[in-house]
């Protein structure tokens, strides 16, 4: 079975950072990467994130499924951009250097350069988000959401949802086996409409049994005082250490550089064509 949201417990400096630090850093980092198209900056970010991956001791095979999934999405995104606006690069950079072809779909250096920037953006963000998911314990994640101001009841339900994903996957698997035995066909041999219809034979029992589960857990939580006070403490919550502060300062700097570059370039784009 594939684990999508999987906390991987390994001793590393990244694991030792508090969940709140990692959440704040991921947000700062993502904003820094999103706000600029400065290629020089975007070229450095993937290198940094690969280095961080090394530090975290998370291996490529741990995240291969999510990597593959996002890579496919990235390719799709690039293809779509080219299909729908093949001249977007020229609009941005104001020049036109045709490499080959002609007409609307002529391949230009500007368009290629724009796609390179898109690619770099993906490479700047995906590894860091995956890193966050793999190194942050869901309950620490809840604690950190609460710390940055999200209501604890919401923070806790997010953590619970993350925690139940493996259970629900397992249950889905069991139900689908039993239903297949009754002749519900889910394999690729069947037409899409038939498969969608079959899916309901699995989803309805799954939803019903999840409802039972929700009733049990909410009773259990209430019986142990959840929701009693405006605030609560977190067993997994920790104080910021020096490393935490340093990391947040570093990521804030990255965001600062990204904004500064936008200001210096006069736009979000770095233009090598003039």
């Amino acid at each position: 079975m594939i684990n999508i949201f999987n906390y991987i417990d390994r001793p590393s400096p990244i694991h030792r950072l508090t969940g709140a630090t990692k959440l704040i850093c991921v947000l700062l980092w993502s904003f820094a990467a999103m706000l600029t198209y400065d290629t020089r900056f975007l070229a450095v970010m993937p290198v940094l994130s690969v280095l961080l991956f090394g530090v975290s001791k998370i291996k490529l095979k741990d995240v291969s499924f999510m990597l593959g999934f996002t890579a496919a999405f990235m390719v799709l995104n690039n293809v779509m951009v080219f299909v729908f606006s093949p001249q977007h690069g020229m609009d941005i950079y104001g020049t036109q250097h045709i490499l080959f072809g002609s007409g609307r779909y002529a391949l230009t250096s500007e368009q290629l350069f724009y796609h390179l920037n898109l690619l770099l953006k993906y490479l700047s963000m995906i590894p860091i988000v995956l890193l966050f998911i793999c190194t942050t314990n869901p309950s620490e994640f809840a604690a950190s959401l609460n710390r940055i101001g999200v209501k604890y009841s919401i923070a806790y339900s997010v953590a619970l949802a993350l925690r139940y994903i493996p259970d629900i996957q397992r249950e889905y698997h069991d139900i689908s086996q039993a239903q297949q035995a009754r002749g519900i066909e889910m394999s690729k041999k069947e037409s899409l409409s038939k498969r969608l219809k079959s899916a309901s034979a699995i989803l309805i029992p799954l939803i019903l049994s999840s409802m039972d589960r929700i009733e049990t857990i909410s009773n259990a939580m209430e019986l142990r005082g959840f929701g009693k006070n405006k605030k609560r403490t977190w067993y997994m919550g920790r104080r910021f250490s020096r490393a935490d502060i340093l990391c947040m300062v570093f990521c804030a700097l990255l965001l600062g550089i990204s904004l500064l570059l936008n200001y210096l370039n006069g736009s979000r784009f770095f233009n090598p064509f003039i």
Binding site: I175, A178, R182, I184, S200, T216, L223, G225, G227, Y235
Partner: protein, 570 residues
């Protein structure tokens, strides 16, 4: 007895969604340090009574209350569910479902977190509670789901012990435990009560298992009323338990068969405290000698033959190691063993859900490996434990017809087959009903019917009676027995000892991915080594036989089983 903690006076309760009250005229007082068992058949109101004690009624489940219910002298309706949770610690039935924290430590800390306890005090109190129930430092970082059944019980207990509660409330603590773990759980509850001096209320219908340790009082409920509130010795001396549809301890039933008059003076609450006069022992012995042994079953052909089957999951877990076992045509057998012993994996391999890596499985002489899951299902039906995991249609008829429709059977033929199946299963009067209007036991029947409609020769049922009280349990099992008489071979996966003892002709015992025994149930339950490896419990019948001076405990157990079947068949 010291001061009362909990006091029901002329108490009644009616859920808003229901047309008649669930509880009537309850008068019950629980004192400090007392240990009380509340028992009764399903639907008698014992769970609602538990909800009243821990505050889920009226705070989560709304309804109309009458009379008075005080906790430490205060009316509970004037308190909040949070105030109540500081005084009443509840351990719920579903030991998996009630875990909230991601790790053991967090789960124990949960109620302290909600109380805003922080810093060193938080860690100290969590460690102290863990220490009291014997959870090691190392386990604290594990996910609760990774623990064994017994450890889970300890964790949920520690989670309510972090608060200094006055009452521990256990809602069916034995429901999901194998017999050996259940025994340990009862011992643990006893130990904790001694340590803390709190009152303990246990809601459970498995009376014999709870009475493994001393209980001060047993409250018996039926149809929303308390029908008896007495010591276990008094209760077991009378006929009330079985009249209310609660199973008596087996040794009590055996003594009654033998014509022994049971009195409180004999201390019948526990087999080890039971004292029998010479005359009583003689009665047991003469009953044994006068009961004829059941006739041997005629030889039957082999239906399913597994030979040297091995299976590993993709993650490398070697779940089945060289399994050789067979099922004869028309048999009703049990597969038993602890969680993770391989019994569920074995049934999945037999049903074709998983494919074994080596060995062979033959069904009626054909190798099953050539068939798809669907084709397996035409021969071997599989019924999951929880009916909610199988039901996907609104109407009963459609649910039972589902498998036939996906197989493209003509509609007239479907109507005929489904109607027949519904009649066999006693669901005919409900055929036009929505499934949601049925009780749990009836839903179970619907799932069995939906498998039977495919006309398999053999069905495998995963824990067919889990969570059922004696009456529903008997209903389901009588139904299965009836199917069995119609020629359907039945395999039950279970850790319910009563089930194997009373209904199965034979048991195959799994342990650590291997078959460690394959013998008549009486042989297995009287074999100390197998009993301990399979996490079973020696039956009290065996002890009774020895107590009565009979030499062969095993034969006594067998005779009891044969006699019970005779009684049912009459």
């Amino acid at each position: 007895m010291s001061d009362p903690i909990l006091c029901f006076k002329n108490f009644g309760f009616q859920y808003n969604a229901q047309s008649s009250p669930t509880l009537y005229d309850i008068n019950l007082t629980i004192h400090k340090g007392e240990k009380v068992l509340i028992t009764g058949p399903s639907g008698c109101g014992k769970s609602t009574l538990a909800h009243c004690i821990n505050g889920l009624v009226p705070f989560s489940y709304k309804g109309k209350m009458e009379g008075s219910l005080t906790l430490g002298g205060k009316e509970t309706k004037d308190l909040s569910i949070f105030d109540i949770s500081h005084r009443v610690g509840t351990v719920l039935q579903d030991s998996d479902g009630q875990f909230i924290g991601l790790t053991v430590a967090e789960d124990i800390a949960f109620s302290l977190e909600n109380d805003c306890v922080s810093g060193p005090e938080l860690y100290e109190r969590v460690n102290a509670a863990a220490g009291k129930v014997g959870i090691s430092e190392e386990l604290m970082r594990h996910a609760p789901g990774e623990l064994s059944g017994g450890q889970k019980q300890r964790v949920s207990l520690a989670g309510v012990m972090v608060d200094d509660v006055d009452i521990f409330l256990f809602d069916e603590p034995l429901a999901n435990l194998d017999p050996a773990t259940g025994k340990q759980a009862i011992e643990l509850i006893d130990e904790i009560q001694r340590q803390t001096g709190a009152a303990v209320v246990i809601i459970e219908h498995r009376v014999e298992d709870v009475l493994h340790r001393h209980v001060d009082r047993v409250v018996l409920m039926q149809q929303g009323r308390i029908v008896s509130d007495s010591t276990p010795d008094e209760l077991l001396s009378g006929p009330l338990l079985s009249e209310c549809g609660v199973r008596e301890p087996l040794y009590i039933t055996a003594l009654k068969y033998a014509g022994v008059q049971i009195t409180p003076a004999m201390h019948p609450a526990h087999i080890d405290t039971l004292s029998l006069s010479q005359a009583d022992k003689e009665k047991v012995r003469s009953w044994f000698h006068s009961t004829p042994a059941a006739a041997a079953k005629p030889q039957r052909p082999v239906l399913l033959q597994a030979e040297n089957v091995s299976f590993s999951y993709a993650n490398g877990h070697h779940a089945l190691k060289d399994i050789t076992a067979s099922v004869l045509k028309g048999e009703l057998i049990a597969i038993v063993g602890t969680n993770g012993a391989g019994k569920s994996t074995f049934s999945k391999v037999v049903c074709g859900f998983e494919t074994h890596q080596s060995g062979s499985i033959r069904f009626a002489g054909e190798d099953l490996a050539q068939y798809s899951i669907k084709e397996h299902a035409d021969r071997i039906g599989y019924v999951m434990q929880n009916p909610n995991q199988m039901i996907s249609k609104v109407l009963i008829f459609d649910e039972v017809a589902l498998g036939l429709r996906t197989r493209g059977v003509p509609e007239e033929k479907i109507t005929e087959t489904v109607n027949n199946t519904l009649k066999i299963c006693g669901l005919w009067p409900f055929r036009k009903w929505p499934v949601s209007a049925l009780s749990y036991g009836q839903k179970k029947r619907v799932t069995i019917a939906s498998i039977l409609a495919l006309e398999p020769e053999m069905i495998i049922l995963d824990e067919p009676t889990a969570g059922q009280d004696y009456r529903h349990y008997s209903e389901i099992m009588e139904f299965l027995l009836d199917l069995n008489r119609r020629g359907i071979t039945i395999v039950m996966i279970t850790h319910d000892m009563h089930l194997m003892l009373e209904y199965a002709e034979r048991a195959v015992v799994f342990s650590g991915g291997r078959v460690i025994a394959d013998a008549p149930c009486a042989d297995i339950l009287t074999n100390a080594e197998i009993v301990s490896r399979a996490s079973l419990k020696e039956t009290s019948l065996y002890t009774l036989a020895l107590l009565s001076g009979l030499e062969s405990g095993r034969e006594f157990v067998q005779r009891f089983i044969d006699y019970e079947r005779e009684v049912y068949n009459r």
